[in-house]
Amino acid sequence: MKILVPVKRVLDYNVKPRVKSDGTGVDLANVKMSMNPFDEIAVEEAIRLKEKGKATEIVAVSVGPAKAQETLRTALAMGADRAILVQVDDGVEVEPLAVAKLLKAIADEEAPGLVILGKQAIDDDSNQTGQMLGALTGWGQATFANTVEVGDGNATVKREIDGGLQTVTVKLPAIVTTDLRLNEPRYASLPNIMKAKSKPLATKSPSEYGVDIAPRLKTLKVAEPAGRTAGIKVGSVDELVEKLKAMGVA
């Protein structure tokens, strides 16, 4: 079974986003970019399935600028076998719906048994691509996965839902989106980083897949959220109790 793992290049998790002064977006010039953390979890899960003998090949896919090659190389260094970059011009943002259409076209060609995606990207926080791919392929979707067990022709997935966990079984081929506690992604070793450089990486364009990536949402403005300011510090529990009483809480 082949596993398709889409990955996205985003502002690094540890970098505090700065809104551009002209209100057009978040400043991405000269800041560290990395693989979306939920996608790292997706790559890791695919590798573990391959190590368990449940998968034979892992294909990493990214839709993004030329620099997204670095993100794909990271996936290859972790253990993916080959990569496909659907390249767009620098600064072009491709919305989840268009990404899902590209992934559908790639899924038609590659015929994977599973597509494992991050549940959301930490830049636009949309949380849509996996579910949209589910709609376009007609496949089952197990979103927000906490554990994944691949059986004979199906996968049983424990999902993180409000209030607890839900278990569903999806027929293969299927879509899985990862939640935080599915696994802890490995770091690529130096030899594997070197090896990844010679793994195959194909570059395609959206038009080769016949997909229109024109955005449907127009961003009119990006602003800082209303800030909170630090309040007071109290010196003792008694003072805190008084404050709570004044608020009618205690």
């Binding site: 989840p96 709609a135 839902i161 607890g164 961003t219 309040g231 510090k233 529990v237 205690a250």
Partner: protein
Amino acid sequence: MKTLVWVEHDGSTVKDATLATVTAAAKLGEVHLLVAGQGVGAVADAAAKIAGVSKVHVADDASLANGLAENVAPLVASLMGHHDAFLAPATTTGKNIAPRVAALLDVMQVSEILSVEGPKTFTRPIYAGNAIATVESADAKLVITVRGTAFDKAAREGGSGTVEAVGGAADAGVSSFVGEEIAKSERPELTSAKIIVSGGRALGSAEKFQEVIIPLADKLGAGVGASRAAVDAGYVPNDYQVGQTGKIVAPEVYLAVGISGAIQHLAGMKDSKTIIAINKDEDAPIFQVADIGLVGDLFTLVPELTGKL
């Protein structure tokens, strides 16, 4: 504009998240609801009473019993011939279903809206709430998820919507429900609690979390939350997590105990009315957003606080 709102329910009652979604929908136009499930007549009757609702569509079918997106999404899409916008609460259920509906309609979804600025214009958080984008949709139909804490809840009484059965539900045959482990608790749910006591990594263990946080929460009648670090360390189950990737909460009082205040956590609670922080590190970022701070050892301060309330 005619809107269709996904009613989140537990088989007998309408959940609070639905009420905030109704408020958002009412800003766009006429409010219709969709109650989907099995044996949901009572839910539909309750939903029809929500203030501002003109019609409730009820789809009662075994294939809808567990809200599987594969079965629900085609049903919703089939109703969108007569509606202009589909709105779902940004709960795990809504987030699971809405994008599947959007793609069936060839619509780009607007996720987790914070406000309605115009018939097709909304604000939404990006970068874990570190920026707020104003976006305008160019699609003919709208598919939207709504952040519950950003809108007032519609009243549960006062409406007199008509109830209408809809057919056409079917099992897509690609997924099935196996089971659920839902934590049973007498405590208020995090997303609707008036007071929340949250614990962080500084608690050090699951035992200490129980020993220190729970008695205080009991005293205050509060919901119990946790930082991602505390959840990852196994002190409490995943559904306690407050933060951008966990639950977004906005209680009257949020008491953060031993939580340093990572951006990710702040994104989940910074809309709380009053934030109180107890932390031994006086430079912890949590104090930059806290209305009331108390610096010191939580293992002495919190039991003392519990005792004095």
